[in-house]
Amino acid sequence: MLTSLKLTSVSCRLAILLLCALYSASMQGATVQFHAWGGSAQVNGYLEWVSEQVEARYGIEVNHVKLADTSDAVSRVLAEKAAGNLNQGSVDLIWINGENFAAMSEHGLLLKNWVSQLANFPLTLPEKNTAMVTDFGLPTQGQEAPWGKAAMVFYYNKRYVSSPPKTIHELLHFAQRYPNRFSYPLPNDYLGISFLKYALIALNPDNRDVFYQPVNDTVFRQRSEVLWRFLDKLHPLMWKGGRYMVSQASTLQRLMSDGELLLAFSFTASEIPSAVKRYDLPESVRTYAMSDGSLGNVHFIGIPFNSAHVEEAKTVVNFLLSPEAQAEKQKVAVWGDETVLDMAALNPMQQARFQSETLHPSALPIAGIYHLLPEPHASWTDKLREAWFARYGERF
């Protein structure tokens, strides 16, 4: 009798303790503050879906803080560090890459070595795809997990062109065969400088490590030589004899629509089928990736060093890396952002998720990117742009 009483009182106390613990946990608020650029209706819509899923599965609430500029969140974390806020930070997840990552990493604003703990991270095959652990030439050191990737894809008009160029050298042959039907934007444009980076890397097949280190004059002169020779030959064969180059990448699409160009390129593969649906590109457009590599950059998710919800944040990131979430993100109707998972690491069931969609004929085929060329170290970009303008004149 007594013992049973004792037992019940113990179990009661335990139950009360447990309730208290749960209660305090929920009081702490498992709301993960996800700071991400909010300028795209598609991205925002996808994050709403993520929020619903995560809440249903793990009971974690995700709040998308819609940033106008990612650097706002970076400076907020920096200000918190300066103010001595070391574990109650207001940012739990941040969507970054490139210079924002470089800045956060430099100031020690990101949590280190957590990415390899994620169950789904190995699905990206990081040993094979070094772009998953390199951000504009900087090693990520486990501070950020890959989320999606953008790669340079080319598109051509099948009605006039039967075999599009598959390598940078074939591109020159294409220009010779179809003079005045290719162009690239001026290098102040993002896509313009990206084309130059692609050409530079593709024309230097050996010892590419230098591109992922800070540039110096000697190396730049050695490596860029072949690029200038290539461009000197290409420019006279380009649209308007290379005398006029568009200043905005979007113009390329319009010129493709009119047939003034027969080959163009983009960083957002999903925009091509949607342009076809809007009649801005002909039905006969086809998208593909170069076989000598596609310049690509991966965008990442980081956890600030002072996040108040580190474990929940990791759970969310692991979900973002799951085949299910990645497949949803890749749907053209949702976002159309390329997955970071390597198909080779997935079982047939998981692979099927990515193929469930019937693709528009003009869309990039599934797994159409053969080989991702990571973005070179950021210092190469400025050097390349300056050298281009010095050589080909200041254009507007």
Binding site: W239, D258, E260, R278, G393, R395, F396
Partner: protein, 588 residues
Amino acid sequence: MSGFHRFSIVMRMVFMCILIIPVFAGLIGVLMPAFGFFPALGENQISLQPFSQLLANDNVLSMSWLSLSTGLIATLLALMGALLLVAVFYQRAWLNRIQHLLSPLLVVPHAAAAIAFLFILSPSGWLARLFSGSDMNNPLPPDWAFPYDPYGLSIILALTLKELPFVFLMLLSTLSQPQLEIKVKGYLKVAQSLGYSQITAFMTIVVPMIYSHIRMPLLAVLAFATANVEVPLILGPNDPPTLAVAVLRWFNHVDLSMRFQASAAAVLQLLVTLTALACWWLAEQVIRKLSRHALLSGKRTWGDDVLTLLAVAVVFVYSVIALLLLASVYTWSVATYWPFPQLLPDGFTLMHWQTALRSLAVPLANSIILAFSVTVFAVVLVLLALEGELQMTKHMSAAMGRLDRSIMHITLYLPLLVPGVAFLFGLVWFQQMYFSHLTWVHLFVSHLIYVLPYVFISLAVAYRRMDPRYVKVAYGLGKTPITVFFAVKLPMLFGPIAVAFALGLAISFSQYLPTLLSAGGNIATVTTEAVAAASGSSRRLSAVYVVVQIIMPLCGFILAWWLPNVFFKPSLKANPKNQGIKVYESNP
């Protein structure tokens, strides 16, 4: 003098200050950094460094030349075309028809006209489709030089197309001034009775008489043509571009130190425009000297048939181009896929309109709010300023009156003669330095600078021409000045006020550079969106923007013509010629 009169004289001062102060402040704001002085960027020393940096650029000469040559040629062509049309068709029924053809083109914003030109000039446009349509073996658009041709021919074409109606209507409104009209018609009759053909008589007698009246507007056209941004931005080459486009690019460069070079280039732009004006003046002198002999030669006809043929050709080409432009943008705005060289798209859809109208809602609202507030303010201020002028000049000696008039005249044309790229940037610096958060106020002021002169010019003639007897009778009946102003003058001016209002709206709608600069890109209007979309990915969306740009000012003018008929039209009864768009010359 009554309180109301004193108030109106003060308002006239305010009016002049609004035109003068921003222009001079802007010029100072550009001159300082052009000479290396800009404390905000840590430069406190006067130096010529920005200029030497600018001149080190190989393209400076060719940029300046491109600005100068396109501006001069376009203005000359517009003037010749307009003179030809008036000379051949003056006192003929066709003149009215041509006026109706050209008037709507006047209110189309430059940016819209340039984009529409882009549509027909480009290798996949209608012209190319018409002329290379049959060759099915090579169904690709031709590789021709337009647009973006290195000599700026596309710019010249678009500017001429836009400026010709302006010069033409200026000529007509000058010719419709009562005293001048009587004189012109009398002289023409005498000349014709002496055996001069009508065209020769017009060229030899009337043109020298009316030229001085259209001189200022003509110089304003020239200044605009040498320094405008939107037309060369949309149609011009970029290796190198015109100087004004380069100034814009340098000012907006991420590297803030480029602003010194940009300021130096803005000063150079001022010199280029001055050079153009000087060239024009020189040409006037030479023609005056050389033509003296020709005018007095006694020759009765100067190839009238050829001139008539030419004029008919101008009208024909003009109608075709105008029609092509309009039809082309309307068609693109509803086109589904439209492969080359088909003359018509595969089908039609309202999809682009739906997409565009959704994203245009905010810019449209911005445009309308801005244009309405600026125009209401401008019309009220101009009416008060005109009343002030009347009160002020009443007691002036003749010489003082003339001086006052010419000061007013120069003030009016100041913002139209000083290139926007030269003073707007300087103005923006002052704005950013002192009142950086008042974006709407800056936008308001920079639009007002451009709206005020046109509203003034458009209202001045009607105001000055008003029959003074009504006013005298009203005073005789013991009315106060304020009652006379509101109860007698304003109702009589209802028609002209409506037209001036519509003109003010149209001018505000069409502003590109002032909007872009004053708002720092934060407040979008239909025009800024349209220029941005011109280089965007969708020709169809861009077409919708252009159509909206054309419809907006037209709505204003249709209301301006219609409202006086609905309400009352004492001024129309007093003078039936007041109908139509007339940008009146302020009589010197």
